[in-house]
Structures are given as C-alpha cells and as structure tokens.
Symmetry: C3
Subunit: 665 residues, 3 copies
C-alpha cells in the first residue's frame, strides 16, 4: 500500500542529468511547490545500463528513497524510447527505417522499430530488470511504459518501414484475407491493373507514390497494432514482478488506437501541451480517456508556463491559466496532474522548454499558482478520491479506425475529423452543460441514452452496426451523419447504395450525395427558417421518415436534409448535412427532449462535472476561457478549496476553480 | 463503316471494376443519359493479361458487343500506362527512375520508362494482340494509346532518369553535336569550367544541382521526344491490323510536344479539367489542337460535376455550367465530348471524383444537363459533321519548344508563358470576336493574314525564321515581341546583338533592354496617351521605322517602345514591351485594319465560331462566363437545338448554347 | 610596384567565355566606363588546364598584358571553386557529399569537399602553377582565393558530410575533449541516453534527425574551420611565389568565421548584392570588415543594376542608386569597388544577371553613373589613399561563434542575430551619426571607450570574459544584454545561475527570466514613462545597482529591467530586455554622456565617415535612402568631386556623395 495517496501532483524529474548531490535541494523546492509525485526514469537507459549487461540502479534507488522519505511518490518509466548508443551500434537492425530505406540515427528519440524481435528482447531485459528492482517498492505508485509512442519515424512522418515491419505487414494481410484474390477483390485492384498474384508483390507504400487508400489505411492500422503490441509486451514483462498499476503516456493523436493500446493497461496516461486558445480542446480528450478504463486517468505531462525545444514555443500565460490547465484533468475525472518538467534542462534538444523551476533552480513564472494548486488538491483530496464524474447518458463517437481511414481518404479539402468533432459537436454539446463520454466503437452501449455519430465513416469496426441497431431498437436515440456508414472496413464504398445500412434502418433513400464545396447548399428547417450547415449535403427521399429540414434549391432541391425514423422503441435522427456549431442545440432538440441526458446549468467557458460515489455527491468545475463564468449547483454545497458555503448560481472568476461537496450526505 | 456517327458523346467506362452482370444496368442508364460512346480498356492490362502470356479478351468483347447492340460506340484504349504487377516484378528494368536513382513502385500509374526497349517490346505484345482482336470491329470508332503521357515521374516532377534514358540522352547529344567541342562551344561551357572531354562526362541533371539551362532544356526536349516516340511506336503496331483512327489523350501541358506527338496520329485527343473560373482557358487549348490535324479533335475527358482523387477537388457547379463545358469543344471544332467518368469508382485513388452516375448507379448532379446535351448533339449532328469552324486568317504562336526553354530559364519572376499568352493575348483577341488558330512553328503560314508572336524566344525552331520573313515580305502582318528572337536553339543568347534577326529585318536597334521589375516603365502612345505595359521594356532607336509608342522617362527615356517596319508587301509591328490585356485592341489597330481577319460581333463571355463546309454555313456559340451574352449572326439562321429562327443580334442565356444553320443554302 | 593605384574600380571579367579577339573592344568600353581594374580567372580552371597536367596560360597572359597596356590592373582569382570535369571524373572522392550520402554533381560550383587531401593537392598544383606564372607581374594588384567560400553543399544547405569531413570532425572532437566522458558531461548526454562510449559512435548529424544543439553547433564550427583551413592552404601556396596581397571574396554570412578565415590573408574581400530597401545593411558589414585587417578592404562584387540567375532578381534601380551603392564601401574605408559582372553572360546559369554592358556589348542602365563614379574616384584618389575613417571609440560586438550557436538554438521564434543587431542596434546607432566598429570577440579592446554586447550568448569565445572585465575596470562603458553571458562554449547553460558572470560583476540578480512571447512585457523608465522593448525580459533584484527601468506588472512585477553597476573605473549597463530601435538613444544616454564617442551630425539616411591620416583630414559621405539629406562638417572643406568649398551644414541630394578634404592642413 503506497503511502502517498492521489490526487498526484508533480512533474517529470531527470536526476540523471544533474549532480546527485543536488537532489536534496530539488526536494526542498518540490515540497515548497506542494508536490507529492515525480515521474522518473523514462529516458535513463544509459544511466541504468551504461554498457551492455552492466546495470546500475543504485543512483535510482537513492532517488526513490530520498523522494519517498520526503513524502513524494514516484511514477517509474521504462527507458525504451531512448536506447543507448552501444545498443544501436551493436544491433543496428533495431533502428527504424524510412520509407526510402534509410535507417534512423542515434541522437534523438523513438528511432527504433516497434516490431523488431531483437529490440523486443532488449526491452524485455531492461524492463524485467527494472521490474525486479522496483516492482514491489511502495514508494512507487505506477509505471509508465516507454514514452509518447506513436508511428513517427522520419519527418515528414511515416511509420517504420524496415524489413521486419514490411514482412509482418504482408503476413498480417495474408492472415486477414487468406488469398490474394480476396484482397484484390476487396480493394478493387483491377483498377489501374493494381492486382497482385502474391502477397509478396504488395509494395511497402512509399510516400512518393500515389498509392491506393486501402493499402495506405492498412499500413496505418498495422502500424497502430505494432505499437500497441510493443507496449503490451512490456506490460506483460512488468506484470511478472510488479504490483503497481501500469500505463503508457499517450498523445492527442489517432496514430495508435487507444482501445488496442489499453487492453492490458491499468489506466490511461496522457500528455498534452495545449496553449491559451486551445486549452478547451483538452477537455475533449479527457472525456475520451475517462471512460476507457475503470481506473481514473493520469495527466502525465502538460506545460507549467511555456513549451519549447531549442526555441520557445508559445510563451508566458495570463494569471490563472496554469491553475485552469492543471485542474481541468482533475475536474474531468483524472487523479493526477504532472508538469513537464520539474527543472529546465541545462543542455540538449529541449533546453528552452518551460518548467516549474529554472536550470539554476529559481522559480519560473506560475510557481505561485503551482503552490496554490497543490494546496487545493490536498484540501479536496478526500472527495476526489471517493467520487467520480457522474455519467450523463450521452455519448459521442470518436473512432480512431475511421480517423486512420480519413487520413488517407480525406473526402473533403480541409476536413479534419478530430477538429470537426471538437468544434462542431463536442464544444456546443458541452457548452450546454452536457458532459458526454467520447467513445470508440467497442464500448458497451447500454449506459447511454443518446449517441451522436457524425463522420463515422464505417459502422463495421468492432462489429458496431448490429449492436447499435439493437441499442436503438431497445430505446436509444441515435443522431447519425453526415458521412456516416459510407465505407466498409477496407475503406471502400458500398456498391449497391451510398450507405451500408442507414437506408434500410430508416426507410429513407439518398437521391443525391453532394459535396459541400465550393460553398454550402441552402438548408431550411421544418419551420421555414434557414439552418446553417456545411461539409456535405445528402438529399433524401424521406420515405416513411419525419422530415426536419430540406433543401429549397440547388441540386438537392425538394429533397430532405434531416430525417427521423422511429425504430423499435428508439429513434434515428439522420443528418444529411453537418450543422454549424451554433445550430447544434436546435438539431439536438429535434430528437432529444430536455432531461434525457444529464446537464449542469453553466456558462460557455465553464467545464463542470457533477461527482458521485462512496464519498457522496459533489461538483467540480473550472473556467477555461479566461472570462467570468458561473454554474448552478443542484443542491447546497461547500467549496473545499475556500470553505465557503455555496448554493444556486455560483460565480467563477476567470480561470477559476471549484471543488464542492454536497452538504447533505 | 461504324454504325455510330459523330459527334460522340459519352464517358470513360471501367467495366473490369464491376461485376459483369451490371453492364446491362449501366447501358440502360447510358441510354437514359443520351450517350453514344464509351472509352474503355485504358487501364485494364491485368484484366486482359492476368499473368504473362495468358490473354483474356472475352469479357472485353462482351462489353463491346453489348454496347454496340445498344448503339453505343467504343473508343478502345491501350492499357500501357498501368503495367500489371507481374510485369514490373519480372522486368524491373522497365520502371522509371527518379533523378536520385530510385525506381518507382507498382501501385500508381505512369511508373514506367518511355525509352526502355524491354517495355517497348512488352507494349508491342499487348497492343498487337488488342489490334488483332479489335482492329476491324466496326463498333469501335477509334483508338487511344496509353493515357495522359507526359514526363512526370516522381513528385516533384522530373522525367525518367533511368540508365536507358541517360544513355539515349547522351547518344542524342552526340548525334546532334558530332563532337564534344561543338557542344562545349554551343553552351559556353568554359563558364564555370563546365567543359566536357567526352559525352560520357555529361551528368544526368539532378534537381538538387544548379545546372546549366541549356543542359536542362536539352533533357526536357529529349524527354518530350522520348514520349512522342513511345506513342508513335504503339501507333505503328496498331496500324498493322487496325482500320480505325488512332490518337492519344493529351493534357494541357507543354512537357510533350504536340507537334512531335501527332506526326503519326490521326487526330488529337484532349483531356481537361478546368473549373468555373478557368473554363475560358480551355478555349485556348481547343484553338491550339484544332489546326494540328485535318481530322476534328476529340475531347476525351472532362468533369461532369466535380474533380477529386481521395478528396473532392472543386465541387458542384452552377446550373448550366456542365452544358457550357460540354459544348465548348464542339463549338471550337471537336467532334467528341466524353466525361471522366461514367460511374464513380467504388475504391481506389480516385474514388471521390465526380461522374455521371454514382458508385451506386444513382444520377449525380448535372445528369439532367447531360441528357439535354445528348439530345442537342443529336439534333445538330448533321450540321456539325458537315461543317468546320471557318478560318479567320489570324494566328497566335504558341511554341512548346520555347515553353520548355522558359521552364529552365524563366527570365522574369512569375513569367508563365501559357498564362501570359492566354491572359494577355488570346483572351482579349477572342473577346473581340476573333477566332485565332494557336499555332506552333512548323505550320504552313500561307493561310494566315496576321500572326502574333509574343514571347517567342527563338525563331529558329522548325526553321521558322526564313519562312516567317518570306511570309511577311509576301504581304503578311507580323506582330512580334516582346522577348522574341532573343535565343538560339541551344537556349543561348546571340552575341552580336540582343536579337537574332529583328534588327536586321526592321532597321530598328535596341539601345537598352530593361526588365519590367521591380515595376513597369512608363510608355506613351504616339497620341500622347499612356499605354499600360509590363514584363519587359526594350528601348529602340527606330531607324527607318514608324514609332507608335515611346518612353517619356526612365532608363529608356527618349527611345521608342513600339515600332513598325514595312517589309516587302508586308509589315512588322515590333513590340518592345508587353501591353496589358486592355490595351490589346489599341495595339492591334496600329497594324491590323478592321476586316483584315474574320470576326464575329459578340459579348466577352461568348465563344462563337462561324462554320462552313459541304453542309453549308452556320454558327456555333457558347457562353462560358455564366452571364447573359449575345452575338450577331451574319445572316438569318435556324437554331437546331430549339428550332427557332434567328437573325441579327441574338441573346444567349448564362452558359447558353446555340448551333444554327444558315437559312440560305 | 604596380602601376595602377587604388581606389580600384572595375568588374569581374570572363574573357575565356568569348572570342579572344573581342578583348580589344571590351577594353575600349572599359576605358569609356572609367575603370582601372578587372577581376579575372576565378572559374577558368578548364581553360588553364583543359586536361590533367596540360597547362595553358598564354591566353591569360595576353589578357593581363592587354589590360595592363590600357592601364587596367588585374585581380587574379584561383579557379578552385569549379574543378574541371576531368578532375571530378578521375578523383570522385573530392566531391562534397550530402548528409544522406549523395555525392554532388559536376555542373555547378562549390561541389568539392573542403577537407579532402586529394583536392588540397590538386588545388596546390594549379595554384602553385598560377603563382609561378603571375606572382611577380606588376599588372596584378592582388589575388583572390577561390570564390564565395561557405558551407553550402546541397540545397537545403548543410556542410559537406563526406567520410573525410566526418573523420576529421571526430578527430577534432577527440582533440578538444580528450575523453568521451568529458564530451558526454559537457553536453549533458545522459539526457535521452545520448551518451557515447567512443568518439566513433558520434553520428554525422543528419538534417532529418532531431539532434543535440551542441553537436550541431560543433559541426558548424568544424565546417567553418574546414573552409578557413582550405583557403589558408592556398594562401600559403601562393606566398611561395607571389608578391601581391592575398584575400578571398566573402559573403555576408556567418557560416565561415571571418576572424579565422583572415588570419593569413592580407585584406578582406567582400561580395554583396543588397537591393534598394536593404542597401543600408551593407554598411553593417563594411563596419565589420574594416577593423578586421590593417589594410583597407575590397568590395569585390556588387550589382551594377540588377541581380539574376536564369531569372531576373530585383530589377532596375532609381537614378543615383548605383552611385550610392558603389561609393558606400569607399566611404566606409574600402579601397575597391567592382561590379559583377563586366559583360553579361551569353549562356549558362547566370545569363540574366545585370552587368555594366550587355552580352552584345551595349551599355546597360546605370552605365552613365558608372562613368561618373570612375571620374569621382580619380579626383578623390589622393585623399582616399592617404587617409582612413577616423575611429570613434564605439564598438558593437558581432560574434560569429554566437551566430552559429543561435543557428541551432534560436531561443525565440524569428530571432535573427544579424537582423536584430542591424535593425535594433547598428542602425539607430549610426543614424545618430556614430560610426561604430562591428567587432568579434578576439579584438584588442583598448581603442574603445564604449562597447555594446546585445545577444552575445557567450563571453567565453576567444577568452573575452576576462579581457572585457579588465577593460571595464579600467574605465570602459559596457552595455550588455539581453541574452548575453547565458551559454558556455559548448552551447550549454550555466547550472548555478542564469548567467556566467554578470551577476557576479554587477551584484544584481535575475529573479525571473521571461520570454518575450506571446507579447512583450511592459517596461517603465525611472522617470515613469514607458520604454518599448521586446524579445526577452529578465527581472532583476538590483542589489547595489542603479535602476534605470523596471516592470510595473506581469511575472516580473516590481523587478528591475535595466540596471547599472559601477565597476572599477568603468560601468556596466545591463539590459534585461531589448529596447526597440526608437528607444536606443534614450538607453544609450543612461550610460554614455555626449562626447564619449565620435559623432557626425547628419540625417538618418546619410552614412558619414570623417577621415584622417598622412593625407590630412577629410569627410566622406553618401546618402543611401534615396531622400534629401545633410551632414555638418566640423571644419571648412573642399568637395573633391565638384571642387566646391563647403562648411557647416551641407545638403546631400538623394543618393548623393561627398568626398571632402579639410582646407587647413
């Protein structure tokens, strides 16, 4: 049983880059900053194993002990993102290779192949060793595997293209399709005489060739799988000796599938570096990683003041911004917030990145906010540990399989799946005080009353279609489209209809499917008022459906734009077009009566999450736009940060925070 | 004798990508679309020869038969743009190679070398076989060799740089110059000690090196020749067995010389994808390809609604645009308009491209316009078949040899030869109702009364200079300059004067040659009013010439800007500067009296072409700017599309079309 | 004793590219242009040694003789920037190699490795031969080694990465650090497990890898050293036989260190191609190269009218601009101005570049200004030969070692060291009539009364720190910061304080170091008025210092921004922020009383330089902004160009020039 309790508050710490004597001075500063957790070890392979098979863990035990003695917990990282020079010199076959056949160089990070059996063995050796050394140390509260694992090799990005990956890719295709004829047919390779006679003829898709989008998507899926397997392998090695929970720190990208990556992990760890104008986007990701695992997620990295490498990126923030940025993951269900990094590097590729203290050990801007956050976490820790955000019954699909298809088949210029979901769905939904789960296609749908599925190209991933249909028939409200159900798993179109199932499910029929370029088509609601939309415009013959909006002119003139079908005990609202963000409340109201999903009355910049659990009921909220805000509490509560009694409408200062506990048990 | 008569109206059709049963449904839709012609076969090598020497033409015969039975003619393509995987696997030496030595990959198009003897043999085998199978089938009205042949290998573009091409390039240089000393002198290779001792020292000019513009131009000319020879080879193979006319579908680029390419072709085939704002530019190209061969050209590809690859490009068009786009080639002398493509692909690199019907076989936007166009072509077919646009006596030089020189020696920043010709010469000329031929340097000049030659860097290509001089002396009016006659065939300057012949021809002398940057120089006409010009400013001592414009100040102060010399029975108007488009009528009037060249009174957006021939006289016109327009008929006519009697000034609706036959025989 | 006296006025001349007979016509034109000097030979290796060991110098002797007979001196160039084709064919190992291992091609320039021992030998052969032929010819007034030597190989630029360079780089590191442990520690290579076990593990830093800034800086320093050694080698070969002074024509870049390059040179030769808006920047470079060597510098290349390669770059200039551009180096202490080039090339990579006469031998724009400049130089030659610009006591540090560090560690986005020095220091300083020396860290500080050191990242280069401290204690006024003294020689931070020495020297202490992004911090002077600043903001606890400015709000609220410490007999004004250009006079006044440094009263566009020497006193000035200007003469003088007597305030026309001699001896 670790002695330090969550919420964890701290930073990444690289004692190997400093004289060991300094650690005592650092710890004194950490306590001054009110921190209780440090992430260490992640890049320190050469300090742990300076030459092959010569292990040095004394220094690391010393660090753990000194931190522990000061009441500071440790998150221990495996160092496999940065193999030592002796390793890649002796085993050059482990280097990642560009699509033009060039092996990567020592001197950066992530320059190794995710599928190399040799590298897997070498990782197993160091990880097993670390697990034996630290696996039962109760000062260590968790493990982080590797670091920011995603398929970036060379710039511009492309996954590793080494012989090992290429062979495994061909094997994966053969395993999936069985025969080359099946693959030829699935991808329509008669087109351009692309047909293969054997799997060995399939090329490693180079960036300089205009390749088939199904091939490119397949390679992206393969790369995602490779990295998920790579980390799963380390998780299994750790499990042999380790009692603490295990994760791997992820980035806000779709290159590695979160679902696949976390099958054998204990929690999601997450790094983000949003700046002033984009802070709100982090909320989307927190809503996504919260439902992924039963355990609360950890925000393992974020900036304390500014980002940078050899050059500052961003810059100083307004007063309070660090507070909002740090509380946001906690409000949305996380139990850790750690900065990158504790002390600025004194050399190297990231020496201009901000931190809690400077290279010279002097406080950097926002140090005072850091102290206050630490104190607030202490005061509210009991509630945070014993409650979780209350589910609202609302889900928004974000399918990373679709994301990888769209990467190679973007359909419309400038169409960015994540940005569209965030800006035109998630933000207007949450600005109305709703707290959606952002979910993949594999989830259990039964907890949800309303599901939204815009841009969900395929319904076939993880067998979603049948489960979704059953869920609707059982009473669910599905808001779907545009551009949903238009591709199969092979990134190809259906050939008999523009949609796989939606026409059958609803009885409506798309007469025309019209791109939203060079400009949008006009759409009018059933009440005759214009409805602003863009991106794509399907024109429906509604059949038995209710028509909520239609096209007054243009190629879809006279056809329906939004239709609704009653399906069993449930309903499907099918959008032929993408409403602009401001229209979302109106569109929601077509199918979702007030009260269907949980909702907190609050202003647009306030992120609010009611909490419940063994510890009772409460409310956590943070203002992220830097403007005055408010929320309405459902019952009288006490703010644990200030001790104030609150009820009804409560004001929040710009970047203000509230963690309140219901007065009634 | 084929049973289907032009004008041909249809689309590209890829039955090999669909279940064969579907062809009947497709044909029913084609007839509904009023089509009478399909282009097939162009990428279907792997369906014709799935493994080496195993030929399958049954399916293709079935397609031809079914189409023929429905009264739909076929244009048959050779599939050599897309060799099957077995081919490039077994004969890797046929792959095109980048300038850094990287062979291209299977999976795209045009990834083969144009000079490879092995590939020529392989092409000969499949083409000969196709010719034997289909060469006397009267349902086939023509052949298309390969597809969109131009020297693009890798992105960014550069012609094939394989050992075969390199050796042939060296041989071509040796054949041309005879001795390396002659080449050294012609290119001034003492400069920077570039001199060679042998032809083998000449490098394949890589893009990463700052190479000599004469070397780069030579490689571009060589690449153009290579592709012309590559297609000529196929034409000769086809001729052995084929009775139908032969062509190859070209693009609006100068990389492969149209003149060289068509020496052994029967007609020009042309693909263009102009969008709303650029539709007018297509007219320039039609005026260029019309005089190239005696037979009318075919517009083999254009968009029906939108372009795209894995992403939409462009988008839906205003009502009527498809009509104008489809009639434009017909008005300008073509006898075919085919869309790309009939039915949208259901997978692959171009699955988002527009078409006539969707992947699911549903009509796409503009289907109704397509139907009307088909009907109009039927109604006006007799006139179109028996008349051709009436020559106007006006020619505008567009020399693709000069274009390739300018590619490597652009002279002025942003100077684009085609754009300058189109925007500052062809458009104001045609907006005045003139219908020029756009001509290369090889043409017979005798049909022309007025020739314009702006930016014609060299007069030496195809021995133009002497023919041009003789034509002027015989009474022609030549409008020449700026930047004409300033280079020899080797892309080098003349050393004794800035011009090769113009000073001698006219008696004027350029005192200063001044670039039009950073801004233009002031020019004033003989009447004292300013004349807007740009790009370049030669200042002439006029000698015996008439001075039409001069420079009031600047480095050319006191010198002449536009001079005119009487030469024999003709005249040369020599422009030292490039008039802005709005000034062109004024400049033309200096040397071309009204009535010298044929002209139709019409508004700026109307493309009008009087017709004459065995079938009598007529007028074809189309409005391309999407605004109301008019034209004035020279005599009473009947509109074959509507049956209306017309005379005098006739209104055209936006994107409107008129095909009228003179009432008097 | 050469018969032609400076100032030298002329152009680059390439007689090898023309028929030899033409030289007489060229010389007649040169005399008409009032020229007395031609640069020849620089690229003519293949004309001197057409095949290996076959030397031809007759033609070159003829050129020298004919020029000499006309009273035109010669600057002779070694041709080693352009090895002949036979050389790189026979010795391919001399080719420079890109960082991806690709050897460069014949056909451009500078495609050879600077460290190749084979190439050094080949250079020695041709240079030794030239030295023997021409080393005692009194018609030759100087030698130019190679041409525009800087570490550009491929585009984008990166120094040569051939095996020879790589091995020498590793040897240089080993020579410097002694042990790999020392290097690991100096660069903090425990970070990311970058540590090496041996020098051989250090990679050649490729551009596609995110390398350590200390490694990148080390490779840049090595490349600089390589080119300096390469030219030094040629200088030593020349010295064996040559009596004339030796230099190498440099460019306004920091890639090769001017100090290192000129240790064994006799003078600085300099090429610049500033255009209308950037002409003033050339003055910065002239102030930099003037103090580098005792002998006056030569401006070896500049444009006469426009720049260009195969495309015009820039364009025609306003009247008088050529005059100002040509006199500027003379005014600032040079004794030569030569154009590139005499006669436009008639072919090749630079055939569109401007010149004095065209390819056809006709005068180009500005020829009349060229004539007048030549006459003016004749009239003022006695004064110019016998006086030099009078030192002002003011120095501005420009450290090219710091420049190379900043290249790989730019600190702030968009921070450009040279641009910041020029725009925010040198220009406002000189606009106040001050004439600073721009100096490196190696110079003798004793002549200076005031030194400015903004952005001087390290004080350790050339052991500056101790000398600087001593100079201050002895009475000097040092204006330093921001971003000075923050890095050691290895491009790493100090670990105990943000600064190496400044806190110790002044007693002030930086509490916060804050980037100037996303916007500036507010700064207020001691008088309460705002002081506009940007880029970086240190907040000081002033300790014993005088506080001249401070921060009213923001993360530095209450701290000092500009402090002053009295140190011995001198003073240090320490800037925590970078004043905007308009604030510089105010900031200077804080520590530099009027009269401390020499100053000429003049308008902002006037570059003025008082002169003194054996020939007496005088004033040279030129107006570079194209606007009316003035200066005030300190005593009555006579303008040698016009013969007019002048005193007091003297007007200068736009682009006007004045060279005046004091009337009193």
């Amino acid at each position: 049983m670790p002695t330090v309790q969550p919420p964890y508050f701290g930073a990444a710490y690289y004692p190997e880059d400093w004289h060991l004597e300094q650690i005592d001075r650092d710890i004194a500063l950490m306590l001054e900053a009110r921190m209780n957790c440090m992430r260490i070890g992640e890049f320190a392979w050469s300090s742990m194993e300076p030459t092959e098979n010569e292990y040095r863990f004394d220094w690391l035990h010393t660090v753990v002990e000194k931190l522990g003695a000061a009441g500071i917990a440790v998150i221990m990282g495996t160092p496999t993102a940065t193999p030592p020079a002796w390793l890649t010199e002796r085993y050059p076959e482990v280097l990642a290779v560009s699509d033009s056949g060039k092996p990567m160089q020592h001197g950066a990070r992530r320059h190794v192949c995710p599928t190399s059996p040799v590298y897997r063995d070498l990782c197993e050796r160091i990880v097993d060793r670390m697990a034996r050394e630290f696996g039962r140390d109760d000062r260590i509260v968790g493990w982080q595997i590797d670091n920011e694992v995603y398929p970036i090799g060379f710039r511009p990005t492309r996954p590793c293209c080494c012989p090992s990956c290429y062979q495994r890719f061909l094997q994966a295709l053969e395993g999936k399709f069985g025969s080359i004829e099946a693959l030829n047919q699935a991808w329509c390779l008669s087109l351009w005489s692309q047909e293969y006679q054997s799997f060995s003829q399939i090329p490693l898709p180079r960036a300089d060739t205009w390749h088939h989008p199904s091939l490119l998507a397949a390679y992206s899926h393969f790369a995602s799988d490779s990295y998920a397997e790579y980390c799963t392998h380390q998780a299994r090695v750790l499990r042999r000796h380790v009692t603490q929970p295990i994760g791997t720190d992820m980035m806000p990208f779709s290159g590695v599938d979160y679902t696949d990556m976390h099958r054998e992990m204990d929690m999601v760890q997450f790094n983000h570096y949003n700046d002033i104008d984009s802070l709100w986007r982090a909320g989307f990701w927190f809503d996504f990683i919260r439902p992924l695992k039963p355990a609360p997620f950890w925000n393992t990295e974020t900036q304390a003041n500014w980002n940078g490498s050899v050059c500052i990126n961003g810059g100083v923030k307004p007063e309070g911004w660090c507070r909002a940025n740090s509380w946001l993951p906690i409000v949305l269900g996380g139990e850790a917030n750690l900065y990158w990094l504790w002390r600025q590097h004194w050399a190297g590729q990231e020496l201009m990145h901000g931190a809690v203290v400077s290279s010279a050990g002097r406080p950097l801007p926002a140090f005072n906010e850091v102290q206050a956050i630490g104190e607030g976490l202490s005061r509210s820790g009991d509630l945070l540990r014993t409650t979780r955000p209350t589910p609202s019954g609302l889900g928004l699909f974000y399918c990373q399989y679709t994301a990888r298809m769209l990467q190679h088949q973007p359909i419309m210029p400038g169409l960015d799946y994540e940005a569209a979901l965030q800006e035109r769905w998630w933000r207007p939904l949450t600005a109305g005080g709703r707290r959606p789960d952002v979910i993949g296609c594999d989830v259990d749908l039964s907890p949800y009353r309303v599901l939204a599925a815009p841009l969900l190209l395929t319904l076939e991933h993880e067998g979603l279609a049948d489960r979704l249909h059953a869920w609707v028939r059982a009473g669910g409200t599905l808001i779907i489209g545009p551009l949903a159900d238009i591709r199969n798993l092979e990134a190809a179109k259906y050939r008999d209809a523009p949609f796989g199932r939606l026409e059958e499910w609803t009885g409506a029929r798309a007469v025309h499917c019209v791109p939203g370029s060079p400009g949008p088509q006009p759409v009018v609601g059933a009440d005759g008022t214009p409805l602003a939309a863009s991106t794509w415009f399907d024109g429906f013959d509604p059949g038995p459906c209710i028509v909520h909006a239609g096209y007054p002119s243009g190629p879809n003139a006279g056809l329906a734009a939004i239709v609704q079908a009653h399906v069993g005990a449930g309903t499907i609202l099918w959008l032929g077009c993408m409403p602009e963000a401001a229209e979302l409340p109106r569109v929601l109201a077509l199918a979702v009566p007030d009260g269907t999903v949980g909702r907190t009355d609050c202003s647009a910049g306030v992120v609010a999450a009611p909490r419940s659990g063994p510890g009772g009921r409460g409310m956590a909220a943070v203002e992220v736009d830097g403007a005055p805000g408010y929320l309405t509490l459902p019952e009288p509560m006490t703010d644990l940060l200030t001790g104030r009694s609150l009820s009804g409408k409560v004001e929040l200062e710009p970047y203000g925070v509230l963690v309140a506990q219901a007065d009634q048990p």
